[in-house]
Symmetry: C2
């Protein structure tokens, strides 16, 4: 009997704790007194989440990005964060300063205040961020997609997975492409402003940081709809990189992760409004499909639907 992976562990926990208000979505909603607080907790663990060569300031920033990205796709402005750290022995003063500097710069970048936390000693660097905001409007859930809605992503996919192939598996790439991929992995840019302005038009949304295939499958399942995909949301340089290294483009685009883009569905009648917001903010939208009756995520290849299964990173999968 295999040990449980991340998905099974989460299910065990959900069985125990019953259905919270907003079960299985990107954020938690707390009703405290008359207030409605939106909370997101994310843990970054050095041995699984940090690439060789990544700067401590970028690691600190990325631990905030994960939460910002989740809040953004629900249209929630992050106001505060607490940070809990496990720090290994041998961490020098300079390293602490780099970490603190990264947090300080990122908190300015995203307009939030770091209000405290907890410092501990551990075997490896672990950064847990809890981020708080409020939202009195209706937030888009993962399960709100309606038949006829358009499926859109806030940016291209495939750069982070290409970056991993280059760094870890030595795939061949131009210096310029490597630079672009590295930036995606080391300094991802969550679409905060776009989420804040455009989320009111979304019928459903989800942060894609676990990979596009997992994201689409979660949304399709929770929306009880079929997601029909006809286009790959990616760049021409990713297509070129895949061809040159004989890598399946589908794997790069759908089975990556850490893109921190939002995937959302929108009624055709709102699409132009969303496009206008995106244009002003220079967010490169990709229209990738539509919502139909039925189930599963399917890719239309030569007019025959082919199922896109869950792929991508799952913690503790053996």
């Amino acid at each position: 009997m295999k040990n449980p992976d991340e998905r099974e562990i989460i299910k065990t926990f959900q069985r125990r704790f019953g259905k919270p208000s907003f079960l299985g979505d990107d954020v938690e909603v707390l009703k405290i007194g008359s207030s409605r607080i939106i909370v997101k907790s994310d843990m970054l663990v050095a041995s699984t989440d940090v690439l060789p060569g990544m700067k401590l300031s970028d690691i600190a920033r990325k631990s905030l990005v994960a939460c910002v990205s989740d809040l953004a796709c629900k249209g929630v402005k992050p106001s505060f964060a607490t940070i809990a750290l496990a720090i290994p022995r041998g961490f020098t003063r300079k390293m602490v300063n780099q970490l603190a500097g990264g947090f300080a710069l990122a908190s300015k970048e995203f307009g939030l205040k770091i209000v405290g936390g907890d410092t501990n000693q551990g075997k490896e660097l672990v950064i847990e961020v809890s981020m708080f905001g409020s939202n009195n409007k209706n937030m888009p859930t993962r399960g709100g997609a309606k038949t006829g809605d358009i499926i859109v992503t806030s940016g291209p996919f495939g750069y982070s997975s290409s970056g991993l192939k280059i760094i870890l598996e030595k795939s061949k790439a131009s210096t310029q492409f490597l630079k672009k991929c590295k930036k995606q992995v080391m300094r991802p840019a969550p679409r905060l402003q776009f989420g804040l302005q455009a989320s009111k038009y979304f019928s459903s949304s989800m942060d894609s940081s676990d990979g596009l295939a997992i994201t689409l499958n979660d949304m399709s399942e929770q929306s009880k709809s079929r997601f029909v995909i006809f286009g790959f949301p990616t760049g021409y340089d990713v297509i070129e990189f895949a061809a040159r290294n004989k890598i399946d483009l589908k794997d790069l685009v759908f089975c990556g992760g850490e893109e921190y883009e939002m995937v959302f569905t929108v009624s055709p009648r709102h699409l132009d409004k969303v496009r206008n917001i995106a244009r002003k903010l220079k967010v490169p939208l990709f229209v990738m499909g539509y919502v139909a009756r039925g189930k599963d995520v399917v890719l239309m290849e030569k007019f025959k639907p082919k199922k896109i299964k869950r792929c991508g990173w799952v913690h503790l999968r053996s």
Copy 2:
């Protein structure tokens, strides 16, 4: 040049992030819209916070206790918690169930709801808990002690440090005493009800989980007052254990940690009200000193004041 320890790391962070609303206290206060939310974040790391032989269900419970205890001493009822986990490879289904079961039982014990979190893979078990409550009354800070106030603890000190001596250094003890000490270490009982009912009478308060000497020194510094100690808040069996093993009783009582008792100051005119609440809840108060003009924490030994310095556990101290 030595690497920075926990205290220095915290100072570095505080320098960077400026003074939050409630700097250097047990909890953080967030003002979101018109609401005032009290947050406490605490991280438990297996390699530093878990004793050999401790059950996973007790580890789960203790990670919640740390936050409950901090909120309790400020009179804040915990309503919700999020949990972020790093889980090492080799964690079986049974172990996940024990962990989840511990969280479920403890959330019932403390009357709070676990609303979500984050699951990751790491080199060792790390549990981060963020806990939320609200409080519209004035909370006692660490810095509110006034000259003439009485210094009180909500229970005895010395059992957790005696327990560590027995388990890790094989000090001699009776089976009964060992059992009592183990219970203190494995299943500490935070004084939640007492804090909720009595904190309105406190002029200052602090959770003592870093050790009594650190707690008293922090309160004395932040209150800009002298804390004069004339009694040891401990049990006769701890005194006996110290004598039998030739351990300095002062070390056991003041330099331990993980007692999860609250230390508070109270004006003499409110002391009876606090005593009555304690009696009803079977909380064994210890009056240990008074607040005077001046600085430092001093123990009156043979009528001569002797400074009680910071001692106890500091993460990353070499």
